[in-house]
Amino acid sequence: MPLTPMDIYKLLPKTNCKKCGEQTCMSFAFKLLNREKKLEDCKPLFEEKKYEVQLKKLQEILKPLEKATETGLIVRSELCNGCGNCIVACPVHVERDPQGAGIGKGPRIKDPIYRIENGKLVIVNMHLCRRYGKNRILCVVCRENCPTDAISFLEG
């Protein structure tokens, strides 16, 4: 199940104390998920004892965020069998490497987004991804074509 801002909001103090600099706890939850804010910015959560249980739960559900790349990508390599569907389907690979990944072979360009190393998918160069940078689009082609759901994104 992907993590939603609502899941985070439910565990926050919900007092809208504005100590984090945000107007509401809900907007803090959004920024937390986008990794623009850190959990430590919510002062009451750490200072007041009554939030102890909530804090522990929050730290647990936010753990996958640390593993995710800047584009929100999470690769669970224990599920990957190296079929390479994601590499060949990726529109960026097709455009930049038409004679390699575009026709099903291993990528021939120097820094592809993905590569299969030792039978598992590894992220080589996230900067090429369409999800990266200011004008990003929420492309999910690699996730859609993974037969084992080894690829996931933070937003689901």
Binding site: G84, V88, P91, K105, G106, G119, K120, N145
Partner: protein
């Protein structure tokens, strides 16, 4: 290098800084992880040198009343040719795994009963891709990404969601069935023969048990469609191969449909073609009677106690065949040529340590679609299958 992990024989594998690039998990394990434990040259459990082991093997083969040569699916064409010569010399039986794998389909292709194409043609031209009774996620992991659904081909360059139509036919929702989303169809099949009937009725414009009208409509649009058949199809047909071949040929009157068997050992098709070139049959052949018969398949021969000696090359029948076969195989004298210390090698009278084809020794293999591929080994072993079999042939 060429990966010999499955019959895809991927040629784009690279080794960089001790990392294996581009190979799937199956190929990576084949190249790096599955090579241990190595076998030793043994005669009746005693470790000997290779010359002594080969001599003992020749003695046993010479004294055999009825011998069988079995396996050979993971070795090279060169070794297979010598093995066929040994079988001819001994007037013995010869068989490989294709007798219970996809041998019937390869035979039909070689005897030109059904049209077939190469996987490169599939990549360039195919529109409808039917996976029938096969799950390449396990058997040929890179099949979809390298040859069929995902790559952009010469005439199919708009990507999988526009220029391909994927059909998955299986008894369960397999991993690749999950990929059948847009422009695709998954059929959960209970009876393969009824599905064939449904296709034939759909051609006449009638509805039948399975809803295949859309697939037929899509097939008629294109000038190249491919059908990949696996073991699920073979056993689903229940021996009615002719019914299936008639269906494929009948389909070709309306829309071109090419059949490619998918999912077997690296060089199983190579063995079928080698034997076909020599004797005109693909497997389960008896040189004494010069004919092929289902009674001459390895498991039948062992079960019916028709053989007293078996020369087993690169396979592990005691571990992989049913218990009633492997139990009887223990009574047969076994000469095993294998690089790995398998259960059969441990129980054999003579074991000869060999090399991994494609990794430690070169040669040629045939891909599942019939394309010959020259292996590029990364190491060079002195003693390989060709060397051992050649010496056995000379000794005989």
């Amino acid at each position: 290098m060429i990966c010999t992990g499955c019959s895809c024989l991927c040629e784009d594998i690279e080794i960089l800084d001790s990392k294996v690039l581009n190979a799937c998990e199956k190929g990576y394990k084949h190249i790096s992880g599955f090579r241990e434990p190595r076998t030793r040259n043994r005669v009746y459990g005693k470790e000997v040198d290779v010359d002594k082991a080969i001599e003992s093997a020749i003695e046993i083969l010479k004294s055999a009343k009825s011998a069988v040569i079995y396996g050979l699916d993971t070795t090279t064409l060169e070794a297979q040719r010598i093995a066929v010569k040994i079988a001819e010399k001994l007037q013995s039986y010869i068989d490989d795994n294709s007798s219970f794998c996809l041998g019937e389909f390869v035979e039909a292709i070689l005897k030109k009963r059904i049209p077939s194409a190469t996987l490169d043609e599939v990549r360039d031209y195919a529109y409808v891709l039917i996976y029938w009774g096969t799950n390449p996620y396990h058997s040929l992991p890179r099949h979809l990404s390298k040859f069929s659904y995902y790559p952009r081909g010469a005439k199919r360059n708009r990507g999988y969601d526009e220029d391909r139509y994927l059909v998955v036919i299986d008894v369960r929702r397999s991993e690749i069935a999950k990929l059948a989303k847009k422009n695709a169809k998954f059929i959960k099949v209970e009876n393969d023969l009824e599905l064939i009937e449904s296709f034939e009725k759909a051609l006449e414009g009638k509805a039948w048990k399975y809803d295949v009208a859309e697939i037929v409509r899509e097939m008629k649009k294109a000038d190249f469609n491919a059908l990949f058949g696996g073991l699920g199809l073979k056993y689903g047909l229940n021996g009615n191969y002719k019914r299936f071949f008639d269906f494929v040929n009948g389909m070709n009157n309306f829309a071109p449909l090419y059949f490619i068997p998918s999912g077997f050992h690296a060089n199983m098709r190579g063995f079928n073609e080698t034997l076909f070139e020599e004797v005109g049959e693909v497997n389960k052949f008896s040189f004494r009677e010069r004919r092929s018969d289902s009674q001459f398949s390895f498991s039948e021969l062992v079960k019916n106690e028709k053989v007293d000696t078996a020369l087993i090359v690169g396979t592990d029948p005691i571990a992989s065949l049913p218990f009633d076969v492997s139990k009887k195989l223990l009574k047969v004298r076994k000469i095993v040529i294998d690089p790995k210390d398998t259960l059969t090698a441990k129980n054999a009278e003579v074991t000869i340590a060999s090399a991994f084809s494609g990794i430690e020794s070169g040669g040629e293999m045939i891909r599942s679609d019939g394309v010959r591929i020259k292996l590029e080994p990364i190491e060079k072993a002195e003693i390989d299958d060709v060397y051992i079999l050649k010496r056995i042939l000379e000794g005989l």
